[in-house]
Amino acid sequence: MQALYAQLLVGLINGSFYALLSLGLAVIFGMLNIINFAHGALYMMGAFVAYFLLNLGGISYWWALLIAPILVGIFGMILERTMLQWLTGLDHLYGLLLTFGIALIVQGVFQNYFGSSGLPYAIPDQLKGGVNLGFMFLPIYRGWVVIFSLVVCLATWFLIEKTQLGAYLRAATENPTLVRAFGINVPRMITLTYGLGVGLAALAGVLSAPINQVRPLMGADLIIVVFAVVVIGGMGSIMGSIITGFALGVIEGFTKYYYPEASNTVVFVLMVLVLLVKPTGLTGRAA
């Protein structure tokens, strides 16, 4: 039984990364109608920015949590301005192909300069060590990841679902022409939204840097699972993607305990089952 509690907690930790990433994807898909395949690459860039800040500028992890999402977010907004905006109104496939291409290029460039085995990034001193919970040894850093990402997820949900700005955004998705008629700069809002989604990915990257290696392929390995999470949760649903992210982390954790060989596949099996029963995802509405 003790082992189960431990696996539950470990699952929640992984779930926080799934939640943060799928949340960014859901925001981008919900507001821009773009299937952002570059998300994994942007997550990786977040981790690399944190690494550079520390090793070139001596800037700590805490500042990296703020600076990396902003820098990568700006990079994302440049992408949106120069490339993605021309795809508005076209089939989803175009956005998918474009962002997939961008992801391959970004990964290729990083791999060319930094190789594939990655760079070390230490856990910040304040979060080193761990506490013995009785049923498991919990590294403080992991606990921090769960709490921090939960807060960020809920804040994002609040911003989009409960504020005036969020209301504009949702309205602009429904009917951009009408919202423009009210004097709101819709293209700028869309650019900022893309920046927000990208920033969330970069934030997840910074969070994962001390746990995993900072590797060019770290995002490529994760992004497919995250897409499955989004599909299961329902494309574009903010709360759906948060809950599914955490839930799938937990399910994966249990699989790692009971049948580890299947731990890479279980998410996809679930995806198939969900699509068979409810093609719009667990919380999604029919388009």
Partner: protein
């Protein structure tokens, strides 16, 4: 009548001789460097292995003797089907004579069959599975650098003797992990130890916390990492996070490469024990080679043992070709010659290619340095012991290779 017979005989002899001469004059060689060029093994093999092959071609000086040698490289992406497709195309279309490197045991075993079928030469450096020179041995294969038997014996024995008598395995769920776990288990039990459990994880896993918790709960004294590359670095890094070293359990990285240790960083990796057959800072000759090598590497990295093995294996291959006086384009014949000539190269020292294709040379037990002991970015290991080749690798009488049963 007698004259006629002798004339006929003479004629036959001349024809044979000229035929022999024709093949002996063929001095073209095509080398295929098949590796993981962009995935998790790309740093320890990949483009560096192709560079090592180029350096072997240059250092062999065969070009001065009128040889024409080409190198092509391919990316097997860690997929056996892609590996065999490339290998077939190389033999059938590109007329490749020798395939080198091929990390990833799954791909390596698949390519092994293709090379045998096409009667090419296969100098494997990157793969670990000891099956290449046992159950699946082939007259066309030379396994140069290391194998699971050697890793298990050198590291496993040293740790059990130091008191690590209960083991838990984290095993990569494919041919290599299975072979390494099997060989290590044999060593552990033979030395009076016990394996108390294990878990098989999928290749390329990012998060090991779940598995590490199971290892922690097993209370085994040694947690054996029967995995490689990014899987090993992630396991070690996250084990430190979960306080595994402090709890009295010890990690055994059964297969660690220079690039892995570099990637983990000395802070986390210090004190780890493991085995390799080559390290750039072993002696003057390895240092000289590594200096030339790193000057041509993109990130100035010195060679890993896999890359060094590609170089040394090809140098030995060229010696065999030189001794044959030309390229007979007959893989089995060349490999037979490689087994005849004693191996002696600047990187691995003296050794021999055994009848089963296994290359025997010294293995070294290393310990990762403390950050305070390291004087340069790649100054990472200290030597703690040397295992002579005949003790490190499978003894011929224990090899299950069919070539040995005559």
């Amino acid at each position: 009548m007698k004259n006629m017979i002798s004339a006929l005989l003479l004629g036959t002899a001349l024809t044979l001789a000229s035929a022999g001469l024709a093949s002996a004059q063929d001095k073209t060689v095509k080398i295929g460097a098949l590796s993981d060029q962009s995935g998790l093994y790309a740093d320890l093999a990949g483009p560096g292995s192709t560079l090592a092959a180029q350096m072997a071609v240059e250092d062999s000086k065969l070009k001065d003797k009128g040889w024409k040698i080409d190198i092509i490289s391919g990316d097997h992406q860690n997929k056996p089907d892609i590996g065999t497709t490339i290998a077939r195309q190389w033999f059938d279309v590109d007329k490749v004579d020798v395939i080198v490197d091929v990390p990833n045991s799954g791909v390596a075993l698949a390519v092994n069959n293709v090379v045998k079928e096409k009667n090419g030469v296969y100098i494997n450096s990157g793969a670990a599975t000891s099956d290449l020179t046992n159950a699946q041995c082939s007259p066309n294969t030379v396994h140069w650098t290391y194998d699971t038997y050697m890793l298990a014996h050198a590291t496993g024995q040293a740790l059990v003797k130091a008191g690590g008598d209960t083991w838990f395995f984290l095993t990569a769920d494919y041919a290599f992990g299975a072979a390494l776990e099997r060989d290590t288990t044999a060593v552990v039990t033979a030395n009076g130890g016990k394996v108390v459990g294990g878990v098989k994880h999928p290749l390329n896993t990012a998060d090991f916390s779940s598995f590490l918790l199971q290892a922690q709960a097993s209370k085994a004294k040694i947690i054996g990492l029967a995995n490689a590359g990014g899987d090993t670095t992630n396991s070690i890094k996250q084990a430190a996070e979960f306080g595994i070293g402090k709890g009295g359990q010890k990690l055994a990285g059964l297969l660690l490469f220079l690039t892995d240790v570099k990637a983990i960083g000395l802070d986390t990796a210090q004190g780890l024990n493991f085995t390799e057959t080559f390290y750039w800072d072993l002696n003057d000759q390895t240092r000289a080679f590594s200096k030339r090598f790193s000057e041509r590497m993109k990130n100035s990295a010195p060679p890993t043992m896999v890359q060094a093995g590609v170089y040394a294996g090809l140098m030995h291959y060229f010696k065999a070709l030189d001794a044959l006086g030309g390229n007979p384009h007959d893989g089995a014949k060349i490999v037979a010659k490689m087994k005849e000539i004693p191996a002696d190269d600047p990187l691995f020292g003296k050794g021999e290619v055994q009848a089963n294709g296994r290359v025997i040379h010294n293995a070294y037990l290393f310990e990762v340095k403390k950050p305070s002991e390291s004087k340069s970015p790649w100054d990472l290991y200290k030597l703690v012991g040397t295992v002579p080749g005949d003790q490190a690798f499978t003894p011929l009488d224990k090899s299950s290779c069919a070539l040995l049963k005559k």
